[in-house]
């Protein structure tokens, strides 16, 4: 038997050292993989193991200034199938047929479909969802979800807007304040094996959803619903295309009501009266139905814009109240003869009588005295050229001549509110500045956001008032507009016992040959210290179309109802 040689042992030791070295290298490699790259791999592994299901976050409610809920949530269910967990496919099929009214073939197809999670139906009523849950069929998931619900249906529909299938805002405040209202969805993460079977022993990891914040707005459902009634009434009586009402606080820009009739049912926003439309026409009809005309449509304001011309003229000092004018029924500007609405003329009158009569030649004179530069300077200073910044989507811009294209004829027509277009909200805000002491306010609906306990989280009122007019001019304007209602063309807007200021307008839409009119009235009360401003516009009334006849009585009715409600006392004794 051969003995060991020394070199045999040496070589064995050499080999074992090499092996030791290799083992240490492998431990090093292991350390690198587990400690340095561990986070990377374990994250990937976790994604692989977990199946994700969303828990929908509740969307914040929208509440009026009295705390009435205008937009709420109701619980609905989403039914899904997890193919790998279905144990009794026949029972699942018959359940789907019975509870969700699926056809047998359809149900069979969905059950047989191999997918990790198959959504069968969403927005299922809670009762149905509960019933399905009670079947206790494995592989059938019932997830609760929220659906938007509007308790007052069509009230302020174009202001509130509605949400889509994923609870995202589509129009109105719902989209404007999406970031406030929308919550953060939570997640249920369940661990599965490679086949997708959930491992109950591993439990589930929940990321709780964070509910959206409530939005409190200045709208008052009492004012809104009364204004809507009145608007609907006048629309029906005058067989008009539509009517809009804005009720706002001229002091701070809070909007109390914004009506655009016809309104639509927020709980069913895709339902149209007319049927058989092709896709494009259907979408167009929907867009028209959802359109907030107070914000998104421009029109020629007509005589209500004389409020601006007067204020600018007084502020610039080109006119004073005793100034005398004469009206032969027209004014010749350059080569044009521009008629007054009273073809026989108002004769000799001072500025107060001029505004009471809404006499076009008087305002042509004031406009011409201001000149193109002066007129545009005040348009700019008053903010008429800019958007009002109201917190609603889709505000239209003022459509105005380019200054370099404005000759005397254009200036003359502009001074009584024609040949350019503004939105109703622009008119309301401009008039607010004229009567509130000269402050341009930002119209707004949102007041603050709140958490679940309705405690204020964040104030949302804009703080960007700008002085655009002197208090003295504003004071004169209040007096002038009060006398329009007391003695002049706005008489029908007057209400016994209250000091009310206002201005009527009747404007013809383009083309003039169509004989379509827009009648409007802008009123405010109390005239000496305005707390509420009402602008009412009637689109295309039939028959008599004068603002003073059609709209002023509507505003008077609104005042008679809302002034006592708002606690504004009668100040004038009979």
């Amino acid at each position: 038997m051969e003995k060991n040689h020394v070199y045999n042992k040496k070589k064995l030791l050499v080999t074992s050292r090499l092996i030791l070295l290799l083992l240490l290298m492998l431990i090093g490699r292991l350390g690198y993989l587990m400690l340095k790259k561990g986070a990377y791999y374990s994250e990937k592994a976790q994604i692989l193991h977990e199946r994700e299901r969303d828990i929908k976050a509740a969307r914040g409610e929208i509440l009026d200034c009295n705390g009435n809920v205008l937009a709420a949530n109701k619980t609905v269910c989403t039914i899904s199938l997890i193919h790998s967990q279905i144990q009794k496919p026949e029972e699942v099929v018959s359940m789907l047929v019975k509870e969700l009214n699926l056809s047998k073939e359809e149900a069979q197809k969905r059950v047989d479909k191999i997918s990790s999670i198959e959504k069968i139906k969403s927005n299922v009523k809670k009762e149905v969802g509960d019933r399905i849950r009670n079947y206790e069929l494995s592989g059938v998931k019932v997830d609760e979800d929220y659906q938007r619900y509007y308790p007052y249906e069509s009230l302020a529909s174009k202001v509130l807007g509605f949400t889509g299938a994923d609870n995202q805002g589509i129009v109105g405040l719902e989209v404007e304040y999406e970031s406030v209202l929308k919550g953060t969805d939570g997640k249920i993460l369940t661990v599965t094996d490679a086949k997708g079977v959930e491992q109950e022993a591993e439990g589930e990891r929940r990321q709780e959803p964070v509910a959206g914040k409530n939005l409190h707005i200045s709208l008052d459902i009492n004012l809104q619903s009364y204004a809507q009634q009145q608007a609907e009434k006048v629309m029906t009586e005058k067989q008009a295309d539509g009517a809009s009402v804005i009720i706002m606080n001229p002091q701070d820009g809070s909007v109390y009501a914004m009506v655009n009739v016809p309104e639509f049912n927020l709980n069913n926003p895709y339902e149209l009266e007319s049927e058989n439309l092709d896709d494009e026409a259907y979408q167009e009809a929907l867009n028209q139905m959802w359109r907030n005309r107070c914000i998104s449509d421009t029109y020629e304001p007509g005589s209500t814009f004389k409020i601006f011309t007067s204020a600018a003229g007084l502020e610039a000092g080109v006119v004073t109240t005793p100034d005398s004018f004469s009206c032969p029924g027209y004014r010749v500007v350059e080569d044009r003869r521009i008629h007054c609405h009273n073809r026989r003329g108002h004769g000799s009158e001072n500025f107060i009588q001029g505004i009471e009569n809404s006499c076009n030649p008087v305002f042509i004179d004031v406009g011409l005295r201001l000149g193109v530069d002066g007129f545009f300077k005040y348009l700019k200073q008053f903010g008429v050229m800019e958007q009002t910044g109201v917190d609603l989507p889709g505000e239209a811009k003022t459509i105005m001549h380019k200054k370099k294209n404005v000759g005397l004829v254009e200036l003359a027509t502009m001074s009584f509110g024609q040949s350019f277009q503004i939105t109703p909200i622009q008119l309301a805000v401009t008039a607010s500045a004229v009567i509130n002491g000269g402050r341009r306010v930002t119209p707004h609906l949102a007041l603050y956001s709140s958490s679940g306990d309705r405690k204020c989280v964040e104030k949302l009122i804009p703080q960007d008032e700008k002085q655009v007019l002197s208090e003295a001019t504003s004071s004169t304007m209040r007096m002038l507009l009060e006398s329009v209602v007391a003695n002049g063309s706005g008489k029908n807007g007057g209400l016994e016992g209250y000091r009310i200021g206002g201005k009527t307008a009747t404007s013809q839409t383009l083309p003039r040959s169509a004989n379509r009119y827009i009648s409007s009235f802008l009123g405010f009360a109390p005239a000496d210290n305005p707390q509420v401003l009402v602008l009412c516009i009637v689109y295309n009334p039939t028959g008599i179309y004068y603002g003073s006849m059609v709209v002023a009585p509507v505003v008077r009715d609104i005042f008679s109802n809302i002034l006592p409600y708002m606690g504004i006392e009668k100040t004038v004794d009979n």
């Binding site: 038997m1 051969e2 040689h5 070199y7 083992l23 990937k44 193991h49 599965t192």
Partner: protein, 352 residues
């Protein structure tokens, strides 16, 4: 030695049980399916080990040629009447039991070479001797290599290590190493799928076939310092394919963390060290070479398995001794330990 082996065996059984619960439940409706079979093989292995350790290794090595011929026969038989499992024909069915001749071949080669080398007195130097050894093992390497390349590589590795130790030269082995490298290059280039394996190795995430490797890495990476706890592995839930086999170490990493995995490597290290000590103190060259063969077999298989699992080398199927599932493997590993114990029984105590 016995302590270390029982520790490894117990550890292996615990880990195997943890790893195979899921596959056992899903495939056979019995979470302990794999565990029971492994436990049976382990008990059988302990018995064999005890018997072998009582025998004189000189007497056993007298039968080395016969054992080698039997292993050749079995390896040949498996090509014709072998049972397929997972796409490989590696098993011989013996009633309810199945037997993997490749595992038997390893111990046969160790015994054969140890006895051949220790007998051939003068011819231990020179290329002639090396060629002789190569000729000796070539039949079994060829036979096993037709359906189990990894085991063939290990057998070849054992042979190279034994020749290296029997020989006083170093230079020749540098030459053999170079030849081996060149051969590997040609071998890889011959078949495109082998080159593809290389690409998968470099960037497993880009290839569908890198799935096993990537899942193993996910498991390893999930472990962190202390692991997610014994039995809590998620990757064994069908993500790492055949988690109880070659990739079992990745599950060890996931469940026991870097610390646990290092401890397992440490236990292997101690076992190797103990075998090394026995080899150094062996009574004669035969005893030393037997121990060296067992040492080489274990270390090669451990290192290659760890390297594959950590994606340090391209993927090839090598089991982790004592821990991976495999009855035949356990049985013959225990016999090898028995041989080492037998050598140890006759060692020159006075040197201690």
């Amino acid at each position: 030695m016995l302590i270390i082996v029982s520790l490894l065996l117990t550890l292996g059984l615990v880990i195997l049980y943890s790893t195979s619960i899921y596959n056992g439940r899903v495939r056979f409706g019995d979470p302990a399916y794999y565990f029971k079979k492994q436990l049976f093989a382990s008990i059988l292995g302990i018995g064999c080990m005890l018997i072998v350790s009582r025998l004189d290794y000189h007497r056993i090595s007298d039968f080395a040629t016969w054992l080698y011929l039997i292993s050749l026969g079995l390896s040949l038989a498996v090509l014709f009447v072998g049972k397929e499992y997972n796409g490989s024909k590696r098993w011989l069915a013996l009633g309810p039991l199945s037997f993997q001749p490749a595992e038997f071949a390893k111990i046969a080669v160790i015994l054969l070479l140890a006895s051949q080398i220790s007998r051939s007195k003068s011819k231990k130097k020179g290329l002639r001797f090396i060629l002789w050894v190569v000729l000796l093992v070539l039949p079994i390497v060829g036979l096993v290599g037709t359906n189990n390349l990894s085991t063939a590589i290990i057998i070849l590795g054992i042979a190279v290590m034994l020749v290296f130790m029997a020989n006083s030269n170093y230079l020749q082995f540098v030459g053999i190493g170079a030849c081996g490298m060149a051969f590997m290059g040609v071998f890889l280039a011959m078949e495109s799928y082998r080159l593809e394996r290389l690409k998968i190795w470099q960037n497993p995430e880009l290839y569908e076939k890198g799935f096993q490797t990537i899942q193993g890495l996910y498991a390893i990476g999930s472990g962190g310092l202390f692991g997610i706890g014994l039995g809590k592995s998620l990757q064994k839930l069908g993500f790492v394919p055949e988690a109880q086999n070659d990739m079992i170490f990745s599950i060890i990493c996931e469940e026991l963390g870097f610390v646990g995995a290092s401890a397992v490597i440490l236990v292997f290290g101690i076992l190797l060290w103990r075998i090394l000590i026995v080899a150094l103190h062996a009574q004669d060259l035969l005893g030393m070479l037997i121990c060296a063969g067992v040492f080489g077999h274990l270390s090669l298989q451990i290192i290659l398995n760890l390297a594959v699992v950590t994606n340090s080398i391209p993927n090839t199927g090598i089991t982790l001794p004592f821990i991976s599932y495999g009855g035949t493997s356990i049985l013959f590993l225990m016999m090898e330990i028995g041989l080492v114990l037998s050598v140890s029984a006759k060692e020159k105590r006075y040197l201690m």
